[in-house]
Symmetry: C2
Subunit: 341 residues, 2 copies
């Protein structure tokens, strides 16, 4: 029980006095107690307890030049980003890992391109030890901006070629997952496999398309349909596909939400899934994939794990004595078999 609830907060000086040691020794104990003899450690610990001592963060970071805080930069180019369950999971992973590293999460919400200056100033001001950002679109100037500030940073998602040089990223193995999905359709006996692709300006969507092509190099271009990751676009694309190639018997859809739309179209037209057409999605979004009719076979990525990994990479960057160059990480994905394929 802390003794004094009110009054000025006790300083290290006070702790030292109470424990009968010097400020230096008290400091050593507070910071782990390495190289201090046990009886003294005990005395200091007790004094800390009794006084309810909490280190003054400002004083500490003034001298250590570290402030134990990491910025999480969230750009909001679209209508809703934050309420995306994907983000929720990633931010949760980040938060948990940050807590494990005793670091704080400072949320930087970018309000459009005009706000970039503010972000740059903040990062440049050294208020945080590092930054975590999400790379969403090709035209996103955030990666470049962060690269320029020279603040240690890690991206979530692979930035478009050339925009985030030197900044490591954590990305799911979109291409490999896509290959696995398509191979699964092949193994099921599908001979005419289509792909409903995501937006051209997102590396994840592009990678999934590339994975499809890796397996089905010579596929008819008519089997490729463009979507924009919305349910509606998935439904439309499926309809178009059915028209162009009525013989289609397998579809790899670039995300679960579009797959849900495609499934709807299929259902409406009385096409049996997976009997007539097998469908595989991507993301294994908890609110979608297990609930579609039939339940969606899809590719799962460990989103929270990716968030945690981002933090671990950043911490390595920060601790790094400058030796090793920080390597980006591509996390494995797994095919989750349900009913649709």
């Amino acid at each position: 029980m802390p003794e004094q609830i009110t009054g000025p907060r006790p300083t290290l000086e006070a702790v030292a006095a109470r424990a009968g040691v010097s400020r230096a020794t008290a400091s050593r104990v507070v910071n782990g107690g390495a190289g201090v003899r046990a009886p003294l450690v005990d005395k200091v610990r007790r004094a800390v307890e009794e006084l309810g001592y909490v280190p003054n963060h400002a004083a500490r970071s003034l001298v250590t030049r570290r402030n134990g805080a990491v910025a999480v930069i969230i750009a909001e180019p679209e209508f809703r980003v934050f309420s995306d369950p994907f983000f929720e999971q990633q931010v949760r992973g980040i938060s948990r890992e940050l807590t494990a590293h005793d670091a704080q999460l400072v949320l930087l919400w970018v309000e459009g391109p005009g706000d970039h200056d503010r972000i740059a100033r903040y990062l440049g001001g050294g208020h945080v030890d590092g930054a975590l950002a999400f790379s969403l679109h090709d035209d996103d100037r955030l990666p470049a901006l962060i690269g320029r500030t020279r603040v240690p940073a890690v991206f979530g998602g692979r930035p478009a070629a050339g925009s985030g040089q030197g900044v490591p990223f954590v990305d799911a193995d979109n291409r490999g997952g896509a290959r696995e999905a398509v191979r699964h359709l092949v193994s099921l006996g599908c001979g005419t496999i289509a792909h409903i692709a995501g937006p051209r300006d997102q590396t994840s969507a592009l990678d999934r398309l590339h994975g499809y092509r890796d397996v089905l190099a010579g596929a008819d271009p008519a089997l490729l349909c463009q979507g924009d990751f919305t349910e509606e676009s998935g439904a439309r694309a499926m309809a178009e596909l059915l028209e162009r190639r009525p013989d289609v018997d397998g579809v790899f859809v670039a995300n679960d939400v579009m797959a849900s739309g495609a499934l709807r179209t299929l259902r409406e037209r009385g096409v049996a899934v997976p009997g007539d057409v097998a469908v595989v999605g991507f993301d294994d979004m908890a609110s979608v994939a297990p609930r579609t009719d039939p339940a969606l076979t899809t590719v799962r990525q460990d989103i929270e794990g990716m968030g945690r990994l981002m933090v671990r990479l950043l911490m390595r960057l920060l601790d790094g004595t400058g030796g090793e160059p920080p390597a980006s990480v591509v996390t494995p994905v797994t095919l989750v078999r349900r009913a649709s394929a």
Copy 2:
């Protein structure tokens, strides 16, 4: 253009030297320049510009005992809280207002009750000037916890009676909105108005129930049905209601999501809305209310505005010379008329 990109960051001392003034004067200019003659102000400003000087936050807050950061505490008792669009909007409002006040947002994600200690320690550690928290459930121990830390705080949503004493809150006028909704149904000629209520342990749900009762004091208890804010529960409650009182001609539902479920039940049974039964929801959730069939008449609350208001209240608390006691704010709501009532 900052002159030196690399090397140690310039200090105020360097700025002062370059401008040919004392550190004190340089400090005054950096902090607004009050009481410094124009030519000197200019000189210092130029030096700041040329050196790319950015104040050291740690040093500043060491002496001012302010750190320009506010904690936003998010408890997660349920499955998903963060991805709730309600939260998104509120946090966005908070973020914007905080930015306007030049303060940072430190996100504290509470991982269950066991995590309370950590939060308390953090808040008690004086790392932030104040805290913003959301009061969700009656049994939430967060309000009490925050009250004990003595950190200036503001709640979003009214805490349960007795749990967050002395801590001001910002809440929507749930009761008044409910009254308005019910009165609207009355004005439409509805004579048998039911209520589908939200969870008993949330003040917002309770207040809406009270609003209903304010207008319909002697209503048949059979007209009251319990839901839990999910779509499914709304659908079920509506079915029950239809069974208990087939003559029901108006329903006030405690939130839009449940109203959407109720609408579904009504549609499935061929009950005309608003012809046979008029329906009013609550929240005016953008992703729900305008998209239901028929579009939902509901009560709108300015969620982002509430977030901003929370920050403004907190800032007043912080600036407060201790004079006025901080008053909670109940923000007005408006009835949005669409097709369902």
